[in-house]
């Protein structure tokens, strides 16, 4: 599903960086993925295996930093852990919130050689 698009985007970025740095492959890729980013882990694993074959990421070790969802209540300003997009504020019960963590979908670093 869209995890395949995401993996393709990662491959594009990695290939470009490897080429521009005159390297030949990625040894380690550090990803930062939030709990609320809309990415399904097993789908990502599956897509990764399929899509990275014969690319610079084929033998890369994946290090994934998972970020838990955190929200700030717009009504009472409480910050709280939020496992979903619809977790109410534990202090006042409001659903009006700002997500301060958990939507990350980024490449933190590449180790290339």
């Amino acid at each position: 599903m869209h995890e395949l698009s995401i993996v393709h985007s990662i491959i594009d970025i990695a290939e470009k960086q490897v080429k521009e740095n005159q390297a030949s492959q990625v040894d380690i890729i550090e990803l930062e993925i939030g709990q609320l980013a809309g990415v399904e882990w097993s789908a990502l694993d599956f897509a990764w295996e399929a899509a990275t074959a014969h690319t610079v990421l084929e033998h890369a070790e994946r290090q994934i930093i998972q970020r838990e969802g955190r929200a700030k209540c717009m009504e009472c300003l409480t910050e709280y852990a939020s496992e979903t997009l619809f977790t109410p504020c534990p202090t006042c019960g409001s659903y009006f919130c700002d997500f301060i963590q958990g939507k990350e979908l980024r490449i933190k670093s590449l180790t290339i050689s």
């Binding site: 809309g38 619809f86 980024r106 490449i107 590449l110 050689s113």
Partner: protein, 297 residues
């Protein structure tokens, strides 16, 4: 091999064509000619889907050396591997193209709407009725998205409104690059409404900004009132929710207020209009919303 034009693109590559057009373009492939009189654009920013300006995500405020003239912070490990600190959003390429589309729409005063829903919620029927009833006084154009066929584009074309069909092949969502290519074919007129009917899918399109001004999520009464809580990412990303097929309320168990409550849990700012594209009930409220949005552009 593409079975329409015989070129060497795989059959499931993304294609974009106008209704009745023999020629089409492939994203990511070579240019190919069919008719000598056909207009082809060449040069920078052409339709081939590669060689776009990629944002590298440099300049995140790190101090760094320019060993390779790159600007990306990097260090070297003892066994001569290089660590590049990218801190780069994976969907940044789509985001950049979406913003570019956004600029295009602003410059031309085009109100761009991204219509999303499950397959069969009534996006195309809603559009057909809207175009019939408003097409005389407001300029419209449409981008249709499906895996295969020109069916939806043909339905829109029958209303007289300009339309282009994107077939994604195996793809499950439209992205900003596809829209950018489609816009070159469609060339919407200034001060008009562009309706982008996304691939029927309540999951994947949520992550992909197309550059739209407003995202409209459509659910239909037979789908059940807990839809918003089962597909939170999509409802979280939309600004307007249309509840379609209200003419079927007497026949299925669907509680409109419950559906709105569920939706407000994932998006407290979501607005709602309940309507029926078949009977016309509620359509005036939708038309009002459209006009308000258009005059604010």
């Amino acid at each position: 091999m593409c079975t329409t034009c015989g070129c060497s693109q795989p059959a499931d590559a993304v294609t974009i064509q106008l209704v009745g057009e023999i020629d089409h373009i492939h994203i990511g492939g070579e240019e190919h000619h069919h008719h000598p009189t056909h207009d082809h654009h060449h040069g920078e920013g052409c339709r081939h889907g590669h060689g776009h300006g990629h944002g590298h995500g440099h300049g995140h405020g790190h101090g760094h050396h320019h060993h390779h003239g790159e600007g990306v912070k990097h260090t070297h490990t003892p066994n001569s591997k290089t660590v590049l600190q990218l801190e780069l959003d994976i969907l940044q390429k789509n985001q950049l193209l979406a913003e570019r589309n956004r600029g295009y729409f602003e410059a031309k005063h085009v109100l761009a709407l991204n219509l999303v829903s499950s397959p069969g919620a009534g996006k195309t029927s809603l559009l057909e009725r809207t175009l019939h009833e408003l097409g005389g006084q407001t300029a419209f154009s449409v981008i249709e998205g499906d895996q295969q066929t020109m069916n939806d584009a043909n339905r829109i074309a029958a209303t007289g409104v300009p339309v282009v069909q994107i077939n994604t092949g195996k793809g499950c969502h439209l992205d900003a690059e596809m829209i950018a290519h489609a816009l070159r074919k469609l060339d919407p007129v200034p001060n008009s409404i562009l309706a982008i009917e996304n691939v029927g899918n309540l999951v994947c399109p949520a992550l992909f900004d197309l550059g739209e001004h407003r995202r409209v999520v459509i659910i239909s009464v037979p789908e059940g009132d807990d839809k918003p809580i089962k597909y939170p990412d999509m409802f979280h990303s939309a600004q307007l929710c249309l509840i379609n097929k209200i003419d079927l309320l007497p026949y299925v168990s669907f509680d409109v207020e419950k559906a709105k409550d569920y939706a407000r849990q994932v998006n407290p700012n979501l607005q709602f209009i309940a309507l029926s594209a078949t009977t016309g009930e509620g359509m005036n409220e939708w038309y009002s919303w459209l006009h308000t949005q258009l005059s604010a552009r």
